[in-house]
Symmetry: C2
Subunit: 205 residues, 2 copies
Amino acid sequence: MPDEIPDIVVGRLPVYLRALMRMAQESREITSSHELGQRLGISSAQIRKDLSHFGEFGKQGTGYQVKFLVEQLRRILKVDAEWGVALVGAGDLGRALAHYGGFANRGFRIVAVFDNDPAKIGMKLTGGLAVQDSSRLSDAIRQSGWKVAMVAVPADQAQAVADKLVEAGVQAILNYAPITLVVADGIRVQYIDPVVHLQRMTFYL
Amino acid sequence: MPDEIPDIVVGRLPVYLRALMRMAQESREITSSHELGQRLGISSAQIRKDLSHFGEFGKQGTGYQVKFLVEQLRRILKVDAEWGVALVGAGDLGRALAHYGGFANRGFRIVAVFDNDPAKIGMKLTGGLAVQDSSRLSDAIRQSGWKVAMVAVPADQAQAVADKLVEAGVQAILNYAPITLVVADGIRVQYIDPVVHLQRMTFYL
DNA sequence: TAGATTGTTAATCGATTAACAATC
DNA sequence: TAGATTGTTAATCGATTAACAATC
């Protein structure tokens, strides 16, 4: 039970889940902490320790039922139901996200796309969503109760967008703008900046 | 000097650099570990400790010259010159990356785009690059000596693409496919999977 | 039974923080 | 000088690993 789960443990669970879903897809019925660790480049002890925070999911001598562990991780991560995600920004990146097929079955669906560019408002995206005026953002989020949003606007607009999202009730933001956001306590933010990731590697070259 | 810098320290440097470049853009000439820490939600002690691995960049009583520290971090991260980046995959995401303006000035430029879809090969992208046949990938990389690549292909092709890249001499891969890659020792891989990032937050909701 | 693998404990390892002398 | 902030040390805190009893 969530005594106090370290963030770093929570951060690994989605990676475990992703690998396990892939195993399930490959019709592997059973796996072990050793096998999973090899696939992921993580020690088997760490996998067992991480899982032990949440319960006992394996069998001595046998390992883990892949399907069962997938179910459990989905439940733990709260992606056993689907979250509606508001997307702000309908530029190249925003549209690529709107079209991305990888959200399905993993707990998320983009339910609305906003932009403040008159040239983009009204645009019909593949998948059926139309780009809405950002001025409708607060109302739409408040009415629908969406808790998760993605920000794909230019850096100089990202903080203002985040402020509006949080004020409308959003509690988790995935930010693609290359800037660190300042948000209230309890609001979660994750960052995706390809340049940051690239720079983490060039150091070693 | 690089005794043995912890990965986790290297991982924070690009975030420091990003914030400092922003400060420079805002014409802030001086900053302190305290101010930078506040912006980033990190303790001032950690920032000073991290920087101390590489030298002494500040002045007691004053703080850090923003421009100077930017220069130093760019040098440390080896992004004071520009890396040519090969991009594999010209789907929605690949094209969004090819059009992305955020690489400029931060050490990277996409120099080639590959895809194996005949319908996409030859396509002219904004910015002037044409999509090349993946069959040319190995030769092109070997001839040009590119060391950095981004992978934006479907999950089931990503490992094969990574293998080809590494074989051709690539040493750093930014992987957008939702799968953990297996690569030889010494090859760096970073992962961007929006679903993983979202799942890291829903746990707390 | 023999072999395998879990869940957990204790030991090790590493990272963060607090504190402060040095000094601008 | 008085105030501020660095770079660094030592203490604290937390995460990883190794080892193994339990048991399938």
